[in-house]
Amino acid sequence: MTTIEKDSGFVHIVLQPTSICNLNCRYCYLPGRREINHMSPQVTTAIATSLENVNQETQILWHGGEALASGIGRFTKLIEPFEHLRSIGKIRHSVQTNGTLISDKWCEFIKHYNMGVGVSIDGPRVSNARRVDWNNNPAFDRTISGIRKLQEHTIPFRVIAVVSEINATDTDAFYEFFRKLGCENLAINVEEQEGLNRHSHIMLESGARQFWKNLFQSWAASPDLAIREFDRVIAWMRATTATNPEEHARAMKPDMWPTISTSGDVVVLAPELMAARPKEMKRFVVGNVLEKPLTAIMKDAREAWYAQEYRIGVNECRKTCPYFSFCGGGHASNKYYETGSFAVTETRHCRNYDMSLVEGVLDALNEMR
């Protein structure tokens, strides 16, 4: 008898269609970006079969390497097993790309499968100095060219920008660039210490707080571009100060975030754990979709050693951290890469991202009073 999973424990799946990337961004945390490992259609067929038994919409995020480096023919074979699920509204596709390979044919592909698109670009040309190819040539013009191609095909796109001490200074220029770029949403990731990227241009805490304050001020003057971080902080502040909490109630529904490698190995809690050194990474694999249904793997994954450790850390965050109601317990990958354990509380990433974000916005609002 088939069991329908009412709650699979995840609403997103990250799929790695290929390990290869045509860029060599200086801060990238992923190893093996020059190795050619492609996912096989057997892997996606196994995932699709398992998702038949999940009674909720699942978002499939294709994220490499560079996902489009798979090539259209190979990607078509990977995505086709999901078509039945897509036709009945059980899954939606998104792809995260560096934009450099986007062509008319890729645009047709994206439209055909109704994919959401996220492009990685860090701001104006000068801010993208570390986004380069393997010959050290800047990727900026090729990324912009890909974005223009999306626009020619009227494909909406979002942006993820990585911020470090290098591009955090001129927030007016940073924000204006994205306003003019035509993206529908901007998400900002603060550069992190993880995977291969263990020493880099990570902001100091004071710099991060100043960045968020300055960016909020730049944004507040003309807030016609949605910024993920400000959406979050405003929603949280309004919930925190609501006279009738029921009206402004929010629920945080954490996600186990299964990330599936080209070989079908499953890692949970954070895609960045795929970036660990091969031996280290094996410790995080909770199963392989070619050997066991994804839903069964995910049931067991809740008790995986590092899920248990992470739970200890989150519970401690709940008890000790005033920002807990905002962040919900910190990112698993940052805890691990910064300290070697998941059972910890505050990290540098907490300070530069969640805490500094809250404090920076508070600083800006204080000046608006």
Binding site: V11, P245, K253, G330, H331, V358, N366, M368
Partner: protein
């Protein structure tokens, strides 16, 4: 970062409420924060939705 306690943080948020409300009233048409779909949320960030908040952190294992 100085670790203010929880109520202190709530107090500080409450103190900027008028500025936030004023900003939202003036700019609200351009800042729709209702359940915006966000690409690539991190595991612990969760997702805002319309489900009533029951005052308890629901750990992923409780779901």
């Amino acid at each position: 970062m100085k670790q203010e306690n929880r109520s202190s943080l709530e107090d500080r948020v409450t103190s900027v409420k008028p500025a936030l409300d004023g900003f939202m009233e003036e700019k609200r048409p351009a800042v729709d924060v209702s359940n915006r779909q966000v690409l690539f949320l991190r595991p612990a960030e969760g997702k805002f939705d319309d489900t009533p908040w029951n005052g308890e952190w629901k750990n992923y294992t409780d779901r």
